[in-house]
Symmetry: C2
Subunit: 365 residues, 2 copies
């Protein structure tokens, strides 16, 4: 077995999920993640935890959901009790075909999700971590050869997370202390937003940081009162539709103008509800192992030298106790390149120029 | 997908497991059984039951068990509650390598089994069914080409089970009413045993018959007072050791002489404990879809035109309430060919000659 698979399993079990002796672990193995599952099982054994393995397959979900003809039972007791009695859930994503569920009616998926909400919440109440095992289908989706894609994935995952967490903490403290944040790029972005009374989240790929994705590597907050224009250089896929060259113009926190390649889809997003016209998130990508766009949001939004902003719902973790953030049924992340001719300022002070932070070597004052 | 996989899934869900609307179903998918799992998921959906899918992999078990270094926790709550809240468990066996667990220490396996006994009992308390999906590894183990092996497996599984159950019931009633059973073959078997006060089990591959294997197709009972000689023409594998040409001689129910190719293994079995020298089971194979030996006991013991006898433990289902049968730590099935020059008699009446039952066409009086 590729030694990197073992290293991935060690990082997942130790840094990310913090598995201890006696923990009840559910390992969810997606079709295609078998090798990683074997390596993770070894780590779970080494930690003397208790392993139960589930199987996640889009093809099984598709066959089941399409055949079911009545109302779904609410929160079946076998699934609910499994997660209620679990301490850790490890989701090993992989997949052989990203389009497997495209011919399941949207209403069916939604009805199933609604009926099984308590099962999902029981799962999210554990120390859960989602990670990814490189498959040929994911390489194809990323537009890369399989071996190159494996290198890419392991560069993103096998990092010195403790060091990155410390660096991200530095940025978090700057954001927490700041009031106004501005971004300018040569591509045409010139935007200012308030970050006052907001808490930034250090998403360091560990349950100890309340961060549940491996890889991770971003610091994000929930801005308000956005004004100006943002040009998103990088494409995104929204329900199978590709959006490119999106430009949004904000006044008093709301989108007042927009343009892009697939404008009707953009309009659909913006008119979902009132909150869909406001930003719910500003994230700053800090994982320099992720050095290119691969059409997979788990990686794209953590890319070094990028920022992303999401239209729609804000995360509660960014809000002081008792305050509520932007509400919406959508949360659509869009990414802008910050590697050249670009700055991030907090209260008038440049904290990142051309992707390099103020405290890093090579920062041009 | 091969239409036979869909037919297999229908028989499993309907005849064997009798899945109803609202049932909580656990489907255990062994590495290699993915296609069958997709077909079964469709059937579970059609019956509006609730599906949770687990993953069974010898490689995962091996990695976990070898790495674990402390005492195993007794009956982890996540696994136990899953099965306690399940109505049906479908085990889809397949496997890529029958030898995967050979380098896990026997003591480790035993310690794990002992610690998780309540989990196993909770699973056996459901309407569970074990079946098999043909893989290349199983074809290799059977000494057959993959496509030929697929034909073999589906011939054994896709049968008119209702009709076979009725036929087996006919034999069961004869066995229940009888007192003494004798078997004679040209190969040298000449044995008599008591079946008085015993109940025969109609193993018809359905939970309605308390029969949990698909395929099945045997009627078995728990004989006593065996006298005479049995020649087992067909080989068996016992913990990786091949036993062939086994001959056992009984007096007053106990083995008094034995011979065979691998005599030390045979001696090891016979000296396990006192009950290992007595028969715990006589089974009569009635699945004529199984027409050859494939080195897999799930199929071999149900083969048409054969009988099998097991040294060791008797099944409670064969005993009247409150009576106990032969006790032993072992239960080793051995098979004899009945297709030529062979008879089964009950109380002096020939009920099978050369594999044909008394009530069938072609029976020679």
């Amino acid at each position: 077995m590729d030694e990197r698979i073992h290293e991935h399993a060690r990082i997942l079990s130790d840094w990310s999920a913090d598995i201890g002796s006696g923990d009840n672990v559910v390992m969810s193995v997606e079709d295609g993640a078998h090798e990683l599952a074997v390596a993770v099982a070894e780590q779970v054994g080494k930690r003397n935890a208790n392993l139960l393995t589930t199987y996640a397959s889009g093809e099984i979900d598709r066959a089941y959901l399409r055949a079911h003809s009545e109302e779904f039972d609410a929160d079946p007791a076998h699934a609910k009790s499994l997660y209620e009695n679990a301490d850790v859930v490890l989701a090993l994503n992989a997949g052989h075909n990203a389009n497997t569920l495209t011919d399941v009616p949207h209403d069916t998926k939604q009805a199933y999700d609604t009926a099984t909400q308590d099962v999902r919440e029981a799962r999210l109440d554990t120390d859960w971590v989602k990670t990814i095992h490189p498959t040929r289908a994911l390489a194809q989706q990323a537009g890369m050869a399989y071996e190159t894609y494996q290198d890419f994935v392991y560069d993103a995952i096998i990092r010195d997370w403790e060091r990155l967490a410390a660096e991200m903490d530095r940025l978090k403290r700057r954001l927490d202390a700041g009031s106004e944040l501005s971004i300018r790029t040569a591509a045409g972005t010139d935007v200012t937003m308030s970050i006052e009374d907001r808490l930034a989240v250090n998403s360091a790929a560990s349950v100890r940081y309340d961060s549940h994705n491996l890889p991770s590597g971003e610091v994000f907050t929930a801005p308000t009162d956005t004004d100006g224009t943002v040009v998103f250089d990088l494409p995104l896929t929204y329900y199978g539709e590709r959006l490119e060259r999106v430009t949004l113009t904000f006044e008093d926190g709301r989108v007042v103008d927009y343009a892009g390649d697939n404008e009707d889809v953009l309009e659909e997003i913006l008119t979902t509800d009132d909150g869909a016209k406001r930003l719910g998130e500003l994230g700053i990508g800090m994982n320099r192992g992720i050095d290119r766009f691969t059409n997979n949001i788990l990686f794209d939004e953590k890319m070094g030298d990028t920022v992303h902003m999401a239209l729609g719902r804000a995360y509660d973790a960014c809000l002081p106790d008792g305050r509520s953030g932007n509400q919406s049924a959508v949360h659509v992340d869009m990414i802008a390149d910050m590697s050249t001719d670009a700055t991030i300022e907090i209260d008038g002070e440049v904290i990142q120029r051309n992707g390099t932070f103020q405290w890093e070597d090579g920062f041009e004052t």
